[in-house]
C-alpha cells in the first residue's frame, strides 16, 4: 500500500516537473541582413488558421499546392532557406483560440504564434516570450517598418511591456473595416416610378430618409412578384457583425458602442452613453414596425447573403467587400440590379456621420522561448511584403493571379498588408482615368484596373471590381474617400493591451450588454432596462476599468 502511494506521488511530481521544463535560448549572432539567407536549411514551427474558401477555391484550383507546400513555402525556402512546419492548422479562428490556449497550458508552444495583447501579457507573465525589440530594429526592412507604422506607433506599443517589444503586429487596413450603407437603387427607382407620390430620396442622408425607403422596400413589393416577401433593413444575431450589424445606426446618433472615445479630456466607454439609449429607442420602434427584421436573432451572415441573393432585401450595412460577397452572387443571376455604397446616414440633417473603427491588426506574432531564430519571423514578413508590394514584386503570383482572381495570398501563414493599400489603389486608378493614362498604374492598382476593364468588356463576373474601384461607377471607394477627406473615422482611442480588470471582466460585461441591447430592440426588455444595465456595468467592474483606462490615457498625454 505504502509502496503504491510512493509510486503515485513520484508519478505526480514527475508529471508536474515535466511541465516546468524550460528551454534555454541562445541568440545566434546573425548577419543583420533583413533578407539574409541562412547557411543551413532552418526549420521554423508556426501555427495557422485555414478557412473554407482556402480549401474549396484556392487549393481545389491549384491542386498541386497544399497549406504545407505552396508558392510561399517555396519562396521562403529559396530566398531564406527557411522550411516552415506547423504545430497545428486550425479550421477557423475559434478553433485557433482553443488550440492555442491548450498549447499554452501544457507549455507546448511553436516557435512563433499569432496572439492578442491579452495573451502576450499572460505569456510574458509566465516568462515564455522573447524580447523582440533588438530584432525588430535590426531586421525589419524599410518597407515592413513603413507598413507597420503607417497609422502610428500604437500597434507596436500595444505589444510592448516594460519597454520590451513582445510581438510583431500583422497589419491590415483599419479603414477597410469601416461600415457603409449598401442600398439597392434600382428598387428605389422602381418604387418612385410605380408610386411617384412616395418620392423616395435616391441617396438617403438622414435616418428619416432611410426609414422611409426601408418602409417602402417592405411594403411596396419592389421585386414585383406580387407577394409580400421583402424586408426593410436586414440584420443579424450578432449586433456588431461586419455584414448586417447595427453599429452603423448607432454611429448615426453619435453613439460608439464597444469602443473608448474621448470626451472632456477623459476616455468614456461608448456603450453606456445616453446616445446609445436614444438609438435603442429608435431601433425598438423600427423592430415593432417590422423595418428591422423580426427574425434577426436567428440570422447569420450566410442567411443574409441568401436573402440578398434571392432579391428579398435591399438595405444592408456592410464593409467595402460587400459587393464582392454576397452582392456579386445576386448580380450573376440578375445583372439589372443596381447598388450603391453610401456613407452612413445621420440623425440630423446638418452633419456628417463618423464611422467607428479600431486599430488595424489581425494580431501579433510572438516568439516563444523555444525559438532558435527569433529574427526569422521578421525575415519572413520582409520577404512576404517585398514579394507583393516591394519594388520587384510579383503581385500576380503572390497576391492574386489575374486569370483566376483567387486570393492566393491566403496560402501564406503570415500576411501583413499596407493599411491604406486599397484606398491608394483607388486614388491612382481615379488619377489614371482622369489623366487618361494607364502607364502610372503598377502592382495592385494595375491589376484592379485590368479587372475593371474585363467588366467593361462585358464579363459580368467582374462587376464587384467595378463597384469597388471604378470611378465612373459610383464605387464604394468614392465613399471611402469621402470618409477620408472629411476625417470621418472615429478610432477606438484606447489602443493598448487590456487592463487587469478588462481581462477579468470585459467579456462578461460585453455578453450582458448584447443581451440587454437585443432585449430592448425586440421588446422583451423595456427601454429603462438600459439604465439598469449602466448601473450593472459600473458595479461589475466597469468603473474600475474606466479608471484604469484613464490612468493609461493620462500617462501617454
Amino acid at each position: 500500500m505504502k509502496k503504491t502511494l510512493v509510486f503515485l506521488l513520484t508519478l505526480i511530481v514527475l508529471v508536474a516537473l515535466s511541465g516546468c521544463k524550460k528551454t534555454e535560448t541562445k541568440i545566434i549572432p546573425g548577419d543583420n541582413d533583413p533578407f539574409g539567407k541562412y547557411d543551413n536549411l532552418t526549420t521554423i514551427e508556426l501555427v495557422r488558421t485555414s478557412d473554407a474558401s482556402i480549401e474549396s477555391d484556392i487549393l481545389s484550383y491549384y491542386n498541386d499546392e497544399t497549406l504545407q507546400n505552396n508558392r510561399f513555402t517555396n519562396l521562403f525556402e529559396e530566398e531564406l532557406n527557411i522550411k516552415i512546419t506547423y504545430k497545428f492548422i486550425a479550421a477557423n479562428p475559434e478553433q485557433y483560440r482553443t488550440k492555442l490556449n491548450l498549447a499554452m497550458s501544457i507549455n507546448d508552444l511553436p516557435d512563433f504564434m499569432m496572439v492578442d495583447p491579452q495573451q502576450i501579457k499572460q505569456l510574458n507573465a509566465a516568462e515564455q516570450l522573447i524580447d523582440l525589440t533588438e530584432y525588430w530594429e535590426t531586421y525589419a526592412s524599410d518597407l515592413l517598418k513603413e507598413i507597420t507604422t503607417q497609422e502610428g506607433n500604437q500597434v507596436l506599443e500595444a505589444a510592448t511591456i516594460d519597454g520590451k517589444l513582445l510581438g510583431i503586429p500583422q497589419m491590415f487596413s483599419s479603414i477597410d473595416r469601416a461600415q457603409f450603407l449598401w442600398i439597392r437603387t434600382d428598387w428605389i427607382d422602381k418604387i418612385n416610378e410605380d408610386n411617384p407620390n412616395l418620392n423616395l430620396p435616391k441617396e438617403p442622408k438622414t435616418i428619416d430618409d432611410l426609414e422611409k425607403i426601408a418602409r417602402a422596400f417592405m411594403t411596396e413589393d419592389p421585386d414585383g412578384n406580387g407577394r409580400d416577401d421583402t424586408y426593410g433593413i436586414i440584420n443579424q444575431g450578432n449586433l456588431w457583425a461586419d455584414l448586417g450589424g447595427l453599429t452603423a445606426l448607432f454611429n448615426s446618433y453619435d453613439a460608439y458602442p464597444n469602443i473608448w472615445v474621448e470626451s472632456d479630456g477623459k476616455l468614456e466607454f461608448g456603450s453606456i452613453q445616453p446616445e446609445v439609449k436614444e438609438t435603442l429607442a429608435k431601433l425598438s420602434e423600427m423592430y415593432n414596425e417590422g423595418i428591422i427584421h423580426r427574425e434577426f436573432a436567428t440570422q447569420t451572415s450566410d442567411t443574409i447573403a441568401d436573402k440578398i441573393k434571392t432579391s428579398k432585401v435591399g438595405i444592408v450595412f456592410g464593409e467595402q467587400w460587400t459587393c464582392a460577397w454576397p452582392i456579386q452572387d445576386l448580380y450573376n443571376i440578375n445583372p439589372n440590379t443596381e447598388w450603391k455604397a453610401l456613407p452612413l446616414v445621420s440623425s440630423d440633417n446638418d452633419k456628417n456621420t463618423k464611422t467607428q473603427i479600431t486599430m488595424g491588426t489581425y494580431g501579433w506574432w510572438a516568439a516563444s522561448k523555444s525559438s532558435q531564430h527569433p529574427e526569422a519571423i521578421i525575415k519572413l514578413m520582409n520577404t512576404y511584403v517585398e514579394s507583393i508590394w516591394g519594388e520587384n514584386n510579383d503581385f500576380d503570383k503572390y497576391y492574386m493571379p489575374e486569370e483566376t482572381g483567387l486570393p492566393v495570398w491566403k496560402l501564406s501563414p503570415i500576411n501583413p498588408e499596407p493599411p491604406t493599400k486599397n484606398l491608394d489603389a483607388y486614388l491612382s486608378i481615379k488619377n489614371a482615368i482622369e489623366n487618361e493614362t494607364e502607364d502610372t498604374l503598377v502592382g495592385e492598382a494595375k491589376q484592379i484596373f485590368d479587372q475593371i476593364q474585363k467588366f467593361e468588356a462585358g464579363d459580368k463576373k467582374f462587376w464587384s471590381w467595378s463597384k469597388g474601384y471604378n470611378p465612373l461607377d459610383e464605387p464604394v471607394y468614392e465613399s471611402m474617400k469621402f470618409y477620408h477627406d472629411n476625417e470621418l473615422f472615429q478610432y477606438n482611442q484606447y489602443n493598448t493591451a487590456p487592463t487587469e480588470t478588462m481581462v477579468d471582466r470585459m467579456s462578461f460585461l460585453q455578453d450582458e450588454q448584447n443581451r440587454v441591447f437585443t432585449g430592448i430592440i425586440n421588446g422583451t426588455k423595456s427601454l429603462d432596462d438600459f439604465d439598469k444595465f449602466v448601473d450593472d456595468w459600473n458595479r461589475l467592474g466597469g468603473e474600475d476599468i474606466t479608471k484604469e483606462v484613464n490612468d493609461w490615457y493620462k500617462s501617454i498625454k
Partner: protein
C-alpha cells in the same frame, strides 16, 4: 471449492479492468482540475504552473453576474418540465401499445416512434429551425392558413421553453415507452385472467394490475431523471438557442460552455460553475435515492 470460485471471478475481474482503467483516466484524473475553480487560472502559466489562488472569489463573482440566477431557474424549470412530461406521456403510449392486438402494427409503431432517438440534435435542430420559421416554416404556413398569427417558436422567449420540451418529448418518448412496454410484458398474465373473472373493466385492469406491475421501473426512471435535474439537455439547447431567447433558454451547461469556450475563455469561472452544478446534483441524487428507498423500497446498492 473456495479457490475455484476465486479463479472464476478473476477472469471476470480482468474483463472489467479495461473499463475501470478508462473510467480512472477520463473520470478520476480530471478531478484534479477542480483546483482551477479556486485559482485565477492563466493558461500560459501551465496546468501545474504558478497560478494565483483566489479562494472563493470565482464563486462570489459568479453570483454577482446578473444572468447566473436566471440560468439556474431556467435549468430547473426546463428539466422539471421535461422530466414530468417525459414520465407521463411514455406511460400512456406504452399502455396504448399494450392494448393493441395486432403484432405487426405494434412493432411498426414501436419502430417509428423509437426512430428519432437515434438522430443527433445537430440534424434535428436544423430541421426544426426550418419548419418553425415564422415566415417560411411549414407549421406557421399552416397556422396562417387557418387564420392564426404566426408564432416565432425559436425566437420568442415565452415560447422557447415549450418548444424545447415538446421537441425533446417528440425525440425521446419512443425510447421511454419501449422500456415501460417491456416492463408490462413481465406482468403475470394470470393476474389479468383473474381480474376478468372478477369482472374488472379495462381501466380497472390498468389501475390495479398494469401500473402497480411497472411501479419499479417508473420509480427507477423517475429517480434517474431527478439526478439529471440540472442537465436540461446541452445538445438540444446549444443547437436551438440564440441571443434573443437567452432570457428563458440559457441553461447551466450552455452557460458553462460559453464561460469556458465562448467569448470569455474564463476556465476558472467555468470550472467553478461546473463544480457548483456537480455539488447540487449530488445532493439531489442522494435525496432522490433516499426517498425512493423509503417510499418504494428501491435499492441500488
Amino acid at each position: 471449492m473456495h479457490k475455484s470460485i476465486r479463479r472464476k471471478n478473476l477472469a471476470l475481474h480482468l474483463m472489467v479492468l479495461p473499463a475501470i482503467i478508462l473510467v480512472f483516466i477520463f473520470n478520476y484524473i480530471p478531478l484534479f482540475g477542480i483546483v482551477i475553480a479556486f485559482q485565477d487560472f492563466v493558461p500560459a502559466k501551465g496546468l501545474f504552473g504558478d497560478q494565483e489562488w483566489v479562494g472563493l472569489e470565482n464563486f462570489r463573482f459568479l453570483f454577482e453576474l446578473p444572468q447566473t440566477k436566471q440560468v439556474i431557474i431556467n435549468t430547473i424549470v426546463i428539466a422539471l418540465a421535461k422530466a414530468i412530461v417525459g414520465l407521463i406521456i411514455p406511460i400512456i403510449v406504452a399502455l396504448m401499445l399494450n392494448s393493441l392486438r395486432k403484432q405487426g402494427l405494434r412493432s411498426g409503431i414501436q419502430t417509428l416512434i423509437y426512430l428519432p432517438h437515434f438522430i443527433s440534435w445537430v440534424i434535428i435542430s436544423s430541421i426544426l429551425i426550418d419548419i418553425l420559421s415564422p415566415s417560411t416554416g411549414i407549421i406557421n404556413q399552416f397556422l396562417m392558413q387557418i387564420g392564426i398569427e404566426p408564432v416565432y417558436f425559436l425566437g420568442e422567449p415565452k415560447y422557447f421553453r415549450m418548444t424545447l420540451v415538446v421537441s425533446d418529448l417528440w425525440k425521446e418518448f419512443g425510447y421511454g415507452s419501449i422500456l415501460y412496454y417491456a416492463a408490462m410484458q413481465g406482468i403475470n398474465p394470470e393476474l389479468y385472467e383473474a381480474s376478468d373473472i372478477d369482472g374488472a373493466n379495462k381501466l380497472r385492469k390498468i389501475w390495479h394490475i398494469t401500473l402497480p406491475g411497472i411501479r419499479m421501473i417508473i420509480v427507477l426512471l423517475g429517480l434517474l431523471s431527478l439526478g439529471n435535474i440540472l442537465n436540461a439537455g446541452f445538445d438540444q439547447v446549444f443547437n436551438l438557442y440564440n441571443i434573443q431567447v437567452l432570457e428563458t433558454g440559457d441553461i447551466l451547461d450552455t452557460y458553462i460552455y460559453q464561460l469556458a469556450f465562448g467569448t470569455n475563455l474564463n476556465y476558472s469561472l467555468a470550472t467553478a460553475a461546473s463544480l457548483l452544478k456537480s455539488i447540487i446534483s449530488f445532493v439531489l441524487i442522494s435525496m432522490a435515492y433516499y426517498l425512493s428507498y423509503k417510499y418504494a423500497d428501491y435499492r441500488m446498492f
